[in-house]
């Protein structure tokens, strides 16, 4: 099996993209649109094939991973980049859940997108996204990773703006792309930094070797400023893609897209690529403790900030969006204390329970005919029991209830924070506080949606129905994942297969960084974590439980744009200032510089015209007078010739 070429994996979704794009284009003229059976079949087939291929590779992977170079990409003498793929433990885990969840969500979308005019187009984008994501995690060089990196950003743009008749959606999409672009520039510049010092090497094997060499040489200090610069730039790239402070504002707006997209791209896969990149470049980051501190702070701040923001949202998807940001903050905390394996583990479990939550929310929205405001929901437990169960399981997972997936991964992160040097306990305190808030807002979501009375009016109540099977099956599968995926690495139970898997990639870097481990009793930390979850739940029940009166929304459903500015907590204003600055700059350029240039041009033109008029003033418009004047000229010339010729 292992002698299969690696490029098969990205090839499948690529074929799917092309086929679906062709179907979409070909059927664009017809009224009815393409057959959903055929389109849907193709749409699910190719991600599934990719998943199968990944499983096949994963089962037979040698310890050191598989590296294959497909062909040369750029070779201009001094700089060379290949298109090559690297299937190592890290990309194996990422690929498994990317393709797996991708396939599940494709199946789910069959039901969710049923009857939409852009059915084929939607799946073409989804396949393109999977292709880009696979390239991102499978590539063996930074440059090719960047291809996937921008590719997923592009697909995110396309899918957020999928219902493009509404310009608000387009604006959200533009925002997502542009904010991501800012991060991407950080990525590019980071690559340039590294390329400068490493002799234009950008593939991971070479880079790691170089970084290890550099670490061993005593004079590492001299290279440190450049490494720090590169690290910061890469981290800017990560904050863009993973919606961390300060580039977090696009993710809540991105909920304008169809819900499966939010589940796949903006919860499970794409937004975690920043964490993936940190793990990939772990050898770089462990060399620069200063930057790592920044990473921890950003992670802590983001997790806390987004959790607070989540408390105030009424849109079910926005709550989940902020919760995603908050969870990503946890992952960056872990990465910041060099617990890369823990952060990847959290990525892994988070993918399951967050996807389950989003799909559940999608099912709720679907059953309520597009209603997203939680204040108009309630009491859905009885009407949609399967959805409710799935969401409640996932809820337990996200708040870290013992036994569920989130418990293992979050607990691990908290432990790693606590054991990190002297400042560890402070980190731990903030993270624990965040965990309590997480439990509160997630509890609020569950209570408002599934308990109490239905508040959406009778008209809507009759409409409520359970989602079709094509949507339920993936949800259930994910819920199972949300419960059991944590047992891949249950430290207390002695199951550490996840850590062992990742050890070849990040182990050495991690050990180098976390030399002085403080030993604590893991049981105590676990109890504290559980306590946080329980306290949060209790607070949520007290605040929102029972049949408390929930204030009805004043407006039926405020548009996305308005909501975004209300509670992204000031970062939208920061962005607005930057946008304003650029606009002012553009205005200055347009109205001042350009006008100046045009004015100068006009002045020169006017002078030319004036001179021309002046000259044509000599033109007497009478041939004879003209000739006469020329005769006078001849006289003068002759006189001059004579005078200077010495004749006179």
């Amino acid at each position: 099996m292992t002698n299969l070429p690696l490029w098969l994996i990205p090839l499948f979704p690529l074929i799917g993209t092309i086929a679906l794009a062709a179907i979409s284009l070909a059927s664009s003229g017809s009224k009815k649109g393409p057959s959903e059976g055929l389109t849907g079949g193709l749409a699910v087939l190719f991600p599934a094939l990719a998943f199968v291929a990944v499983v096949a590779f994963a089962a037979n992977m040698p310890v050191e991973g598989i590296q294959q170079t497909l062909c040369n990409w750029m070779d201009i003498g001094s700089f060379r980049a290949d298109i090559g793929f690297l299937f190592d433990p890290l990309s194996r885990i990422m690929l498994l859940f990317v393709t797996g969840i991708g396939t599940l969500i494709a199946i789910y979308s069959l039901g969710y997108m049923h009857g939409d005019r852009g059915f084929a187009r939607f799946f073409a984008y989804i396949n393109l996204f999977l292709f880009s994501m696979i390239v991102l995690v499978l590539s063996d060089s930074l440059l090719l990773t960047f291809l996937g990196w921008e590719g997923v950003g592009l697909c995110s743009y396309l899918l957020i703006g999928f219902w493009n008749a509404d310009l608000n959606n387009c604006k959200a999409a533009n925002k997502a792309f542009i904010v991501n672009r800012v991060g991407d520039i950080g990525f590019i510049l980071g690559m340039l930094c590294l390329a400068m010092v490493s002799g234009d090497l950008l593939n991971y094997a070479g880079l790691n070797a170089f970084l290890k060499d550099a670490a061993n040489v005593e004079v590492i200090k001299l290279l440190l400023p450049i490494f720090s610069l590169a690290g910061i730039l890469f981290f800017v790239g990560c904050t863009g893609k993973s919606a961390q402070i300060p580039l977090l504002t696009w993710l809540p707006d991105a909920m304008a897209g169809p819900t499966p997209v939010s589940a796949l791209i903006h919860a499970a896969t794409m937004v975690t690529s920043g964490v993936y990149l940190m793990a990939r470049l772990s050898n770089l980051f462990v060399l620069i403790p200063g930057v790592m501190t920044i990473v921890v702070f950003v992670g802590l701040l983001t997790a806390f900030w987004a959790a607070i923001a989540g408390l105030f949202q009424n849109d079910i998807k926005k709550v989940l969006a902020y919760s995603t940001i908050s969870q990503l903050g946890y992952m960056f905390m872990a990465a910041g204390v060099a617990a890369f394996d823990a952060s990847i583990f959290h990525v892994f479990t988070h993918a399951f329970f967050k996807a389950a939550l989003f799909l559940g929310a999608g099912a709720v929205i679907h059953s309520l005919a597009g209603e997203q405001d939680m204040r108009r929901m309630g009491g859905l437990l009885k009407k949609t029991p399967v959805t409710a169960c799935v969401m409640i399981f996932a809820f337990f997972a996200i708040i870290g209830f013992p036994g569920f997936a989130g418990f293992w991964s979050k607990d691990l992160i908290l432990e790693r924070l606590y054991t990190f040097g002297d400042v560890g306990p402070i980190y731990y305190g903030i993270a624990l506080l965040t965990a309590i808030i997480t439990a509160i807002y997630m509890g609020r979501l569950i209570i408002l949606t599934f308990f109490g009375k239905f508040r959406g009016g009778e008209e809507l109540e009759k409409h409520v129905h359970e989602a079709p099977a094509s949507m339920l099956v993936p949800m259930v599968v994910l819920a199972v994942g949300a419960v059991f995926s944590g047992y891949m690495w249950a430290d207390m139970l002695g199951m550490t297969c996840f850590r062992d898997m990742l050890a070849p990639v990040v182990g050495s870097a991690q050990e180098a960084f976390r030399a002085a481990e403080v030993h604590v009793n893991p049981m105590m930390l676990a109890c504290l974590g559980t306590a946080a979850a329980v306290i949060g739940m209790v607070i949520a029940w007290i605040a929102y439980g029972g049949n408390k009166h929930i204030p009805a929304p004043r407006v039926a459903y405020p548009s996305d744009g308005v909501q975004a500015t209300t509670w992204t907590l000031f970062f939208d204003y920061v962005h607005a200032i930057f946008i304003l600055l650029v606009n002012v700059l553009a205005w200055i350029v347009d109205k001042c510089v350009n006008q100046l240039v045009m004015f100068v041009q006009w002045i020169i033109g006017a002078i030319a015209v004036l001179l021309g008029d002046f000259a044509s003033g000599f033109q007497v418009r009478k041939v004879r007078l003209q000739l006469c004047l020329s005769l006078v000229g001849v006289v003068v010339l002759t006189a001059l010739v004579f005078i200077y010729g010495g004749i006179i």
Binding site: Q619, V623, L627
Partner: protein, 104 residues
Amino acid sequence: MELQAIYVQILALVLFSIGILTAISRRNMFFVLMGVELALNAVNLSFIGFSKTFAGDLSVAGQIVPLFTIAVAAAEACVGLAMVILIFRNQESVDTDNYSGMKG
């Protein structure tokens, strides 16, 4: 009192001046043409007058140039008169001041 070369040149100069005067100061198209012919003739005379101041072979050159001048003048008159006819048909005037179609 022999015939001096300078006399010929002075005659040529006088004729040339009269030719130029006619060509420029008269407004009738025909006078313009005639003035040009007169000036050309004066130049021919000047050529011949000077050619006679050289010896042998050189003097011939000065006589041959007027020959060509005359031929060119013939061509010029031919075309020029045809143009006069054309313009006259269009404008019904031989006054050069009326020919201002290309006034800038």
